[in-house]
């Protein structure tokens, strides 16, 4: 059982590596690659903005309320809530948790789109035309998402902090001045760099793993659904694993 799992994992990793070798080839037509790239920037990046805004603003607000309730102690300074909210957003929420959420949205989108193209022979049609289908379909998606993810993460940080600010404005849980002092106190710009590095790695994982599962679908609509689920589950596990590795390398 364990042996077959290990063998299966090695085989899957090998196939993934071979696919990536095919993906990172020079595009047949630069103009066509650029057109695809721009489309993917819109689809994977800009269309993810609404969900990033909604989740970030609410989580920022909720985090502020919960932190305030848990740090209600006279020996802790009033700015603690803002500081804890800021560091949690910068270090973990906006990079890792947001990427896990986007692994669901973007990962399932990529896997199902490429998987449907596979089962309806559209990928075969590209191959018959003499096109490197892996490079044509996957490279623009990876490039677009790797470009957009850091922007989404930084955007999420800003919106999350704004959510906390709204708590100060619309409630009496925390004062606006205490919150603003907290989010500026002992600020370490390196945390943003750390989050951006993480987001680049996670974006690559989400786009490439989802493409891998979509590209090798066999069967019908049910199998596309399964591939989509596998893409989300596996990219989420890999994100958590690489989160540990990167955190250990960059913050330890």
């Amino acid at each position: 059982m364990l042996a077959s799992f290990i063998l299966d994992s090695i085989r899957t990793t090998g196939r993934y590596a071979l696919l990536m070798r095919k993906v990172f080839a020079r595009p047949e037509r630069g103009r066509m690659f650029f057109r695809q790239f721009v489309q993917e920037v819109g689809k994977l990046g800009l269309q993810s903005l609404p969900i990033v805004i909604i989740i970030s603003v609410f989580i920022g607000a909720i985090m502020t309320i919960q932190t305030k309730l848990n740090t209600e102690n006279p020996i802790l300074p009033a700015y603690t809530t803002g500081l804890v909210t800021r560091d949690t957003l910068l270090l973990e929420f906006s990079s890792t948790i947001m990427c896990l959420i986007l692994a669901g949205k973007v990962g399932s989108n990529i896997a199902s789109e490429i998987g449907t193209m596979r089962i309806t022979e559209q990928i075969d049609a590209l191959e018959i035309m003499g096109i490197n289908s892996a490079s044509y379909l996957i490279l623009p998606r990876i490039a677009a998402f790797v470009l957009m993810m850091p922007l989404l993460v930084v955007y999420s940080m800003a919106i999350g902090l704004f959510g906390g600010y709204c708590v100060g404005v619309f409630s009496d849980i925390i004062t606006v001045s205490d919150y603003l002092l907290g989010i500026q106190y002992a600020f370490i710009p390196y945390y943003i760099f750390y989050s951006v590095v993480k987001s680049l790695v996670f974006a690559f994982i989400i786009a490439s793993v989802a493409s891998f599962y979509g590209y090798y679908v066999k069967g019908g609509a049910l199998d596309v659904g399964r591939a989509s689920t596998s893409a989300v589950v596996n990219s989420s596990v890999l994100i958590l694993f690489f989160n540990l590795v990167i955190t250990n390398l960059m913050l330890n």
Binding site: E121, Q122, A125, M129, G130, N132
Partner: protein
């Protein structure tokens, strides 16, 4: 001309799906691979195109042996190939015109205006009305999708045309339109056309040269007129399974 010599193909080391198949597919003719479901005709067609790697044997495109080629050379060869898939395989995200324009944008050295002109010529050639050019594939009928797929297949003026079950899912009248279109274009452009089919109407309508395979082996080959007089039990069981074709055979022999 495409020549297949002693081709053997198996999957994962199992029983061969293709057993020592040899055949010649001539230019300017509609060559048909026929046989019952599961006989290996799709595997043979995909092996000829290079979507499956064969275990042994030669597949020669005018003397160029496909199994010996590197991927880069196979891609170059495929620019001389057009293919009509069973389900048309049009790109969902593109309009009818964009689908036909796609191979031209990828490989044609012509300026964009000439490419559009060529794409429109191909669509006119398959008798598709101009008001359909801006529609998405899901907005047109199955027969129209097949015609668009043919237009896309001929956009780069291929030397070789492959059709996998071109009539699947079509009514008899539309099937006839597609069959005749394939035959006309084959003669017009002098292409080597290979059609994979088990539709008897198609076989009798356009099959210039027919290769019958069963259980992965070639059992018979000849022209459509030869079919009526062939002394081959397996072919008879397949071709004359229906009462209608039994009557046709009886009337032709009397």
């Amino acid at each position: 001309m495409i020549e297949v010599k002693h081709v053997v193909k198996s999957f994962d080391g199992g029983e061969p799906v293709l057993k020592d198949i040899s055949a010649v597919f001539e230019a300017g003719k509609v060559n048909m691979i026929i046989g019952p479901s599961g006989s290996g005709k799709t595997v043979l067609l995909k092996s000829i195109i290079g979507l499956h790697r064969v275990d042994s044997g030669r597949i020669e495109y005018d003397g160029r042996n496909l199994p010996d080629m590197r991927m880069k050379d196979i891609r170059l060869l495929r620019r001389e190939v057009g293919m009509l898939f069973q389900g048309a395989a049009l790109f969902d995200s593109m309009t009818v015109l964009q689908n036909v324009l796609f191979p031209l944008e990828m490989f044609s050295p012509d300026p964009p205006a000439r490419q559009v002109e060529r794409a429109k010529f191909c669509l006119r050639r398959v008798n598709l009305e101009e008001d359909k050019y801006g529609l998405m594939p899901s907005e047109i009928s199955g027969g129209m999708q097949k015609r668009v797929a043919i237009a896309r297949a001929i956009a780069l003026q291929p030397k070789y045309l492959f059709c996998d079950e071109p009539n699947s899912g079509l009514d008899p009248r539309t099937s006839l339109v597609i069959d005749r279109l394939i035959a006309e274009l084959t003669r017009e452009f002098g292409m080597t056309t290979i059609v994979n089919s088990h539709d008897m109407n198609s076989i009798m309508e356009i099959g210039d040269h027919i290769v019958f395979i069963e259980h992965g082996a070639k059992v018979w080959q000849g022209s459509r007129t030869d079919i009526l007089h062939a002394d081959c039990q397996e072919l008879d069981d397949f071709v004359f399974a229906s009462d209608l074709f039994k009557k046709i055979k009886q009337s032709s022999t009397h």
